[in-house]
Amino acid sequence: MGTILRKAAETFPRRGMVILISDLLTERESLIKGLKLLRQRGHDVMVFHIMDDDELDFPFSGPTRFEGLELPEHLSCNPRALREGYMEALEEYLDEIRRGCANSACDYALIRTSAPLDAALATYLSNRLGMHHRN
């Protein structure tokens, strides 16, 4: 993800608006660096963090085998036994993303896949417009 953002900063030298829509399941440090680079180049950066409901709520029970989509690992477990640890790890991750965006002065919005994207964008843009008017 960091490489992609760096390439985008180099590809678009003029100031503009960069909208990043992703699940952000990537290496956090390079992501934050990429976002900072975009900001240093004068881009207005908006991060739309898309996550599935299951990923946010982890509602599974019963013996389950989780097979990694982006990693080669798999895990057979009782998901209810791991849920508490999972949610803690997820919160830590989301906090880190939020903090990184804030430090980089990037707008950040976490959007559930269950929520309609247009409505989520409209809400976000409306909020953002309101903030500028107040400024």
């Binding site: 509602p59 019963g62 990694g68 989509l69």
Partner: protein, 796 residues
């Protein structure tokens, strides 16, 4: 350590059961659903963080489940802990209580011996097996008869010895035969319960085994019809149970159906024993019912029992089997004893009584005639051929034959024709011997002499009697005597109504109004109409038309008040009427006796009955015979019943020698000292309790002048015990529904197993509490280990 249900502890049950939680856990791991997952990073982080904790909880859960299953298995299998372990739980000693049926149905003989022998063998097995157990064992033996005797003693002491006037102890003083030949059963007090050494809470060891082996050699069944109730009652009362011991009760019996005739009471006792914490085992000593015939009754028909006069004896045979019996011959014999002598009796055979057929479960009665030429107590024995149960094949009766039977005729007129006519009717002539000895006396005789010796009293021409005379008559009837009152010219209705009837308080059957002439114009038919179903008329006149009765003409009779009717209490009945239905002969039961009022004259003054009509003599003889039944000597006792005699204290020595039948011809004499009668001050009472064997018993009284009187009594077995029908295990279970017991057949019962000899954890509620706690813990662990769905919905 052992198990009651050891089959449940086989490896092919234990291993699969205990490994089930692990196998289910592994199967669940294989049966997981697959989910494609992007956020593996967080899952792996969580797993890395909690791996050890999760595995620990899963291991604990598996162990809890295996432990719960193991405990359920141990409880179902009935784990019995050995002594050293069971002490931790408060139980160590085992008390084996054997209740042994020794009622006379256990004399039932099979190929391998009697049913009682089988029961004794079961007792030996129980003690033998108990001795082989590693834990401390105790043993108690209660025989049915022993418990019944104890209960009977308690009741008798409560009734007869309320204070300190107990009789002196029994002392055998004069054994007329070799005592060594008699068994304990013969000499036992209170009827057949043997004086064997009792075993109460004895520690089971080798010494006890030897002692029991020796004692049981002399064990014999009794002749009593004892049931298990008293033996069951003794548990927890006479036989206290310890709190720190396990009690196993064995009911070793033939389980005859008649012993369980009152199952509710038995079930109550068994339930009580279960509540005391005892385990109950029924050990049946008989598998199949054998046929049995029994002589169930033998007694002289009430009437005149005088020397040289034929008397009737009634006998009953019962077929206690499932098949009809045909062409049966009952052997009869009699023994004659002189009235005042202990000399050797003379035996006579009597013609056998034939029974064509007796249906299963039915009884058949027959009467036969026998004449005893001498006065005295005579024995009659009825005997059947040998069968499975011998003791009820014989039955005894004692017939007290008098030289003559005295009858009192109280005549208000001196030397009246009526008195002579009646005396002639009762004792017609020397050649026609009735055995009766009529004696004509004036009314004053009633108050001046004892009346008890007279068979019957006839009252003629009585105008009035003094209060003492009326009182004597009332007492005589109330104590079993019979009175006949003839009306006549001298009869005063006022006297009869006030003194003899006394508003129903006296013996006289009905109030009188006045003498009337019979109206012969209004209705056709004979003047005298008798109730042909009544015993006085049934035997001679019943079932046939007797023209001589029709020839009786009644001219006058005493009427009863208009509207008078016999009471509905069955004590008063009209047994003969005149033409038109007015009462002529009225009977009343009064106390133990009866009175009959004949409302016309005995002499042919108001009728022509006594003038050459043969039915008059027959009716007077039958009347006398019927009324004397209340004073007939019975002399019948059941085995085990105490034999009581009373006698005038001024006439006899207080020592009474009782002679009891023994084995074979052996007889045994025991002396008892009489005590003052509680009911009558002039009498003494002697009591003999050793009536354990059926036969004829003698009581020898010595008069003050040195002469001896012998009184004889027949003692017979109770009849119901001869029914050998057995209760099946299902019958027993349904009759005592709700009481847990185990049923065994004696042939297959080897005694207590090791599993019954220790501390059975399945009988201790604490282990069930432990199981419940274990299951609750398992559920909490399972929830904690997230094996249960979340309390709120939303899981996938």
């Amino acid at each position: 350590m052992s198990f009651i249900q050891s089959a449940l502890t086989s490896w092919w049950i234990v291993v699969p059961l205990l490994s089930a939680p692990v196998i289910i856990h592994l199967i669940n791991l294989l049966r997981h659903k697959k989910v494609k997952w992007a956020a593996m990073e967080f899952l792996l982080a969580s797993q890395k963080r909690n791996r050890n904790y999760i595995r620990f909880k899963q291991l604990l859960l598996l162990l809890a489940r295996m432990a719960a299953l193991a405990l359920i298995l141990l409880l179902l299998a009935g784990l019995v802990l050995p002594d050293q372990w069971s002490k931790m739980f408060g139980g160590s000693k085992v008390h084996h209580v054997v209740l042994l049926d020794d009622s006379y149905s256990t004399q039932d003989r099979h190929d391998d011996g009697t049913v009682f022998d089988r029961g004794v063998e079961v007792v030996r097995n129980i003690v033998g097996q108990a001795a082989a157990q590693p834990t401390e064992q105790a043993f108690s033996l209660v025989r049915f008869s022993e418990a019944a005797r104890r209960e009977s003693d308690v009741q008798n002491n409560a009734i007869s010895n309320p204070v300190d006037d107990a009789p002196e102890p029994t002392q055998p003083v004069d054994a007329v035969a070799d005592d060594n030949q008699t068994s304990d059963t013969d000499a036992s007090p209170a009827g057949g319960a043997p004086e064997t050494e009792t075993f109460r809470r004895r520690r089971v060891n080798d010494a006890l085994l030897v002692e029991l082996e020796n004692s049981t050699k002399s064990f014999e069944p009794t002749n009593l019809p004892a049931d298990p109730l008293e033996a069951l009652k003794s548990i927890g009362h006479d036989l206290a149970l310890g709190e720190d011991e396990k009690t196993v009760v064995y009911l070793v019996s033939d389980f005859r159906r008649n012993q369980w005739s009152n199952p509710d009471v038995l079930a109550q006792e068994l339930a009580r024993i279960r509540e005391l914490g005892a385990e109950i085992h029924f050990v049946s000593t008989v598998d199949n019912r054998q046929a049995n015939l029994a002589v169930t009754d033998l007694r002289p028909v009430p009437g005149v029992h005088a020397a040289g006069v034929p008397l009737e004896v009634e006998v009953e045979v019962t077929n206690f089997s499932s098949e009809p019996i045909r062409d049966l011959n009952l052997q009869l014999a009699s023994q004659t004893n002189a009235a005042d002598s202990r000399g050797e009796p003379q035996s006579y055979s009597l013609p056998a009584v034939a029974f064509d057929a007796i249906a299963p479960g039915q009884s058949l009665r027959k009467t036969f005639r026998v004449t005893f030429q001498t006065a005295g107590d005579h024995q009659v024995v009825a005997r059947l051929d040998a069968d499975a149960l011998e003791v009820d094949n014989e039955r005894y009766a004692v017939v007290r034959v008098l030289p003559e039977a005295p009858v009192l005729i109280v005549d208000g007129l001196v030397d009246s024709y009526a008195g002579k006519l009646l005396a002639l009717a009762l004792s017609p002539a020397q050649r026609v011997r009735t055995g009766l000895s009529p004696r004509i006396e004036a009314p004053s005789f009633l108050r001046e002499n004892p009346l008890a010796g007279f068979q019957t009293i006839f009252l003629l021409n009585i105008r009035s009697l003094s209060d003492d005379e009326v009182r004597a008559l009332n007492s005589y009837v109330a104590e079993g005597g019979g009175v006949v009152y003839f009306a006549g010219e001298d009869t005063s209705a006022d006297f009869v109504n006030k003194q003899l009837y006394a508003d129903g308080q006296g013996f006289f059957p009905a109030p009188l109004r006045a003498p009337v002439y019979l109206d012969t114009s209004s209705q056709a038919g004979p003047d005298l109409q008798v109730d042909l179903t009544h015993p006085i008329f049934a035997k001679t006149f019943g079932g046939s038309r007797n023209s001589f009765l029709n020839l009786v003409l009644i001219d006058r009779y005493f009427s009863v008040p208009a509207g008078w009717k016999a009471a509905d209490d069955d004590n008063t009945q009209v047994i003969a009427t005149v033409r038109g239905g007015a009462p002529l002969m009225i009977e009343r039961k009064f106390g133990q006796g009866r009175a009959i009022a004949v409302l016309t004259t005995a002499s042919p003054d108001w009728n022509n009955w006594g003038r050459g009509n043969p039915t008059f003599v027959i009716t007077m003889l039958e009347l006398q015979s019927y009324l004397s039944a209340g004073r007939s000597f019975d002399g019948q006792l059941a085995v085990g019943s105490p034999l009581r005699i009373d006698f005038a204290r001024e006439m006899y020595d207080p020592r009474v020698a009782f002679t009891a039948p023994g084995r074979g011809a052996v007889r045994r004499t025991i002396e008892e000292k009489a005590i003052d009668s509680e009911t009558e001050s002039r009498l003494r009472e002697a009591r003999f309790t050793g009536t354990g064997r059926p036969g004829v018993y003698e009581a020898l009284l010595t008069r003050i002048d040195g002469e001896e009187d012998v009184r004889r009594f027949a003692v017979n077995v109770a009849t119901a015990e001869g029914d050998l029908e057995i209760s099946s295990p299902s019958d027993l279970a349904s009759s005592i529904d709700g009481v847990d017991f185990e049923y065994h057949r004696s042939a297959e019962f080897a005694g207590p197993s090791e599993s019954q000899a220790g501390f059975n954890v399945s009988e201790d509620w604490r282990f069930f509490i432990l199981l419940i706690l274990l299951l609750i813990g398992e559920q909490l662990l399972a929830y904690s280990a997230s094996f249960h769905p979340p309390l709120k919905g939303g899981s996938r």
